[in-house]
Symmetry: D2
């Protein structure tokens, strides 16, 4: 029955060549109503294969977070409790580890506003994105802490300092999900032939549009053209909680001209939330997609999700590079959109 599913148009694009923390030559699936995204990412993928190192992946950090809110009578009480709690990190960590062999408490950040005490728990969660794992952990930790400190009372299991699916600064600064940087060095001739532009013009556009333009827009830790598009498409196709594109799209595109017209191009995604196991991942088509992506292998916990994170970030780079190149040329964006839509209508 048609009401049971929403069938999002999907194509596999690539392969993309990845090196560094993730080594792969791999197609990626993009589920989207915006069909121009497919050839756009496809152009980036083609370039990645024309460069020896392809897209180089650096995975900087990984964690999932949940902040819980406790209420005290006043700030002094909140502060005393806070110091005691963070001083008993080992006991908190033991509680988390007892719940799941894949969950490990790695950090507790605190913030006090008047009599309100926010504790932000950070966990590594293996190959799961970890939404449920951190909520479960937070629940156990709250019970433990309220047992220690009867002068505190329950405020909320989530105090919004987490911060889930919201445009905030805390996630990028303290970390949430995987922090991944992908970059590529493209020789001048490929810039000219494949991207129909020059390194100098693309660098200039990136400064004026992604950096200055985002600044006047009042952007928050965000300087890119359209990360959200690529993230949405690959998140949907791989069974991710795609509402995490809200924070996932807060990333930075940075480019430099190197040597005589070569282009250094990078995308930094500090809050990429993906998983290869857990909620939604046992749907048959998700299982298929993750298997085809090589993210169902028998590896160390976290390795499959790391691979997925690298593939997602590289996909973002492909689409970002392609769109920026198009925008360096007056009229190119609209022409290619119109062309694609005409093709797409013909092929239906």
């Amino acid at each position: 029955m048609s009401g049971d599913i929403t069938p999002i148009p999907t194509r596999w694009v690539g392969p993309l060549r990845l090196t560094g923390d993730v080594e792969a030559e791999q197609d990626v699936p993009l589920a989207t109503y915006e069909s121009p995204l497919w050839p756009s990412v496809g152009r980036g993928a083609r370039i990645s294969r024309l460069v020896a190192d392809g897209i180089r992946v650096s995975v900087i950090d990984e964690r999932m977070t949940r902040s819980s809110l406790f209420v005290a009578a006043d700030a002094a009480t909140a502060l005393r409790a806070s110091r005691d709690i963070t001083g008993r990190f080992a006991e908190l960590a033991a509680t988390v580890s007892a719940q799941s062999r894949h969950a490990r408490l790695i950090d507790v950040d605190t913030e006090i506003v008047g009599n309100l005490l926010y504790l932000r728990f950070a966990l590594t969660t293996g190959d799961a994105s970890g939404h449920n794992m951190v909520t479960l952990a937070a629940e156990a930790l709250m019970a433990q802490i309220l047992g220690w400190h009867p002068e505190l009372s329950y405020g909320s299991i989530s105090g919004n300092y987490c911060s889930d699916k919201k445009a905030t600064a805390v996630n990028g600064i303290l970390g949430r999900g995987r922090s991944v940087v992908v970059d590529i060095l493209i020789p001048a001739d490929l810039v000219r032939d494949q991207l129909r532009t020059t390194a100098a013009r693309l660098v200039e556009l990136n400064v004026r549009k992604n950096l200055v333009g985002s600044t006047i827009a009042g952007a928050l830790r965000s300087a890119n053209a359209h990360y959200a598009n690529m993230l949405l498409a690959i998140f949907l196709a791989t069974g991710q909680d795609a509402a995490n594109i809200v924070e996932g799209s807060q990333g930075i595109t940075y480019a430099e001209e190197r040597g005589d017209g070569d282009l250094y191009f990078s995308c930094s995604l500090p809050t990429l939330i993906v998983g290869t196991v857990g909620n939604g991942k046992d749907l048959p088509f998700v299982d298929d997609a993750l298997t085809r992506l090589g993210c169902r292998e028998d590896r160390e916990p976290g390795e499959n999700a790391r691979r997925l994170a690298g593939l997602v970030a590289a996909t973002v780079l492909c689409g970002e590079l392609s769109l920026l190149a198009a925008q360096t040329n007056q009229g190119e964006l609209m022409q290619s959109h119109l062309l694609l839509e005409r093709r797409s209508e013909t092929s239906r």
Copy 2:
């Protein structure tokens, strides 16, 4: 072939009762991997039907935007051009109207940074969300303006001051998409019986979590628990460009206790980008969904999209109300999640 589509699990939930700028008693479709969302929105919908006025909808504004970037030699040149251009608004408007009978230029905002001139064009776009319409318009306007001002040169068709699918401040302040406020007044007994809480506790939680918690998280024009979840689900199921949840989720939940324990509860969504015609809307299941939602009627241009915007906003209210109520009670969130997941596994 399974690679052609991504089948997102979908259920119709409701009906929701809407009054005010949108009058309806209507089920809504939610496409999501997060199955607990269905009963969560369902609880809110049930409450809406138990209240005479249901969820009241106010549509405040509607527009779609694109900013284009022009480059001058210096600020004085940019300013002179800017004043001339905005002074010729009627000519710009004529260019836009000539392209499409549904597009109408309603505003041009300008911003100058050094020698860079950003013009932000705002259009009404009838029942379309308007992404393509504003890009097409911006292209024609750029050509017109560069014709008038040879001292300017092309910077970018999009200068990121638009701002599309990014967490920024400009959209909420200058407007992008539809600005909708939905609110409901819930009698004390319903608060107790249906939401298992009190108005006082829910109001307190909203202040501590959504307002104070979001503030310390460094949120940007955003104070809510999880608008992104509901937006994603209904956007996907109705063929919207779901990457617009990035700005769509920047909204504010505000609640007050009224009289003797009644609850006033509101969700303000200043940048809701939806359409009932245009890209993606001719897919058969999208057409079905929009028809079933009553958004394919023969109405004044903009009316169908306005109805959809009201339905989306009301859906957001249902899910937000339900989650916040659950979070006022220690342990409730996790229990209901676990319960739902167990049920869900049984029913598969």
Copy 3:
């Protein structure tokens, strides 16, 4: 008696050469505990005199704002009232003009959150910064509006959507104070001899530090090295309300290499709040300073304040240029600070 005043060390630096919307060859006073600021601004001033056009000033906009908060029963009531109020702009404007011949209402922006209605009144205020004028106006306008709309009640004379002395996005986007851009084109030999750097290196630093660095810091509409320092010093020395450096410092430095090593350098200050009459301006030393600055002339209302705004912005450019140039060279910043502090101790 020493308790009656706080004597801030002050020097006049310059002269700076200004052209464009403000034409001047003028020293400026800097009151500061940070003595290195004097030679730093001095270096920029010297460069301005070595360039034919000096620092070119563009004054883009001017206004002062106050937002007032009204409370309704619900959003629909707030929206109906809002539409009626903005539709009676002429009556509101008459009320403002009746209070002061220098105050003129030029805009009313509205924002609705649930049942809360925020009206942001924008006035031109002649040569006054206008803090008191807008508060007085808001008071009269609130009384008028509450008379029209008994279904609204008083929320607050100031609803923080103004927004006074706070780091927000609204001021830069809707305007508050004067919006001024200053820029200069510096030949390659002056860049080398006076700034001891190259255009390429300074442009690169500006991108990496002021644009990318500010982005990861979570800056809000702000991309500069130290506008706050210059603003504080000249605000204090000219009797301004120096707490307005909070929003005043939210500006953008943008630079480009031109031709063969020439440097285009600009500072954009969208929210510069200054006045030459009004509160504090009748103190004898303030009167002296403003007279010496040529800001007490018999001119059209607003002209004296415009001149002051131009001088302030040019001073900001001088200090910003100088510090950035120093930071392109490893070790230079600290050496010059140490040198200056040693000199300063000797000279006491």
Copy 4:
């Protein structure tokens, strides 16, 4: 000669009663052109003396920061270097300690954007605010690090991730200056008699204006009425670098009604940058002011500055409480301003 100093009108107000991490009954000096500030803070001070515990001070954290920018060929190189550098924390700390017996390295935060590596050094700096100390430390650390890693090159001594005198999110989240919370519990009769309002009305105003109003203004980690005013006045009068009001003013006012009409009122200031020794503190009137404030005693390093931080925060609370109370009553703000200005003119 009048050009040598700028004489800011100054009054000592109080005494304020402080308990908790700072115990004092102490007048404070306010240097300001805005004379209504004196009675406004004075009213808060009077209330503090009428409450047994007065204003309770909690000092949560203290540190000063400087971020330096290094440039690598690519992200992988930056990441390898970053991991090596943070792994050699003890060697970095030794370098800092060798420079000054009051400087101690307590944290190094890293952020990578493409090939750019930002290291944010955090130091405790005894009784100094620490601006120069961290710059000096950063210079030595950069030399050390560039010695270890010839594959990195100098980017900037300051990479704006510090972040000095700018409206950013990083300072509140990672810490800069002292983090202080001050709170007070005011019995209902004092709220009525001294503040001419009720706890319920003041709490409601705080939510609607400081929390919701700031949110729509696009405020960044800031929810207060006018911290900047009090900070500026006491910073100037005590020889502080008053440009630090930019980040200092990013704080949160939070209030609750307790029991039967009592008012819990708090101000949280996460980034309060003050010192009692160092640059500017040897000016005779600054020395006098600090001595009179009891901040020149022979105490453990950091204790004098901590006392000053507590006094500053308590002063902020007094002014904030007083203004908010006034704004709960229509017309009160303007009446009291007009009254004060008339008095002030008479007394001149």
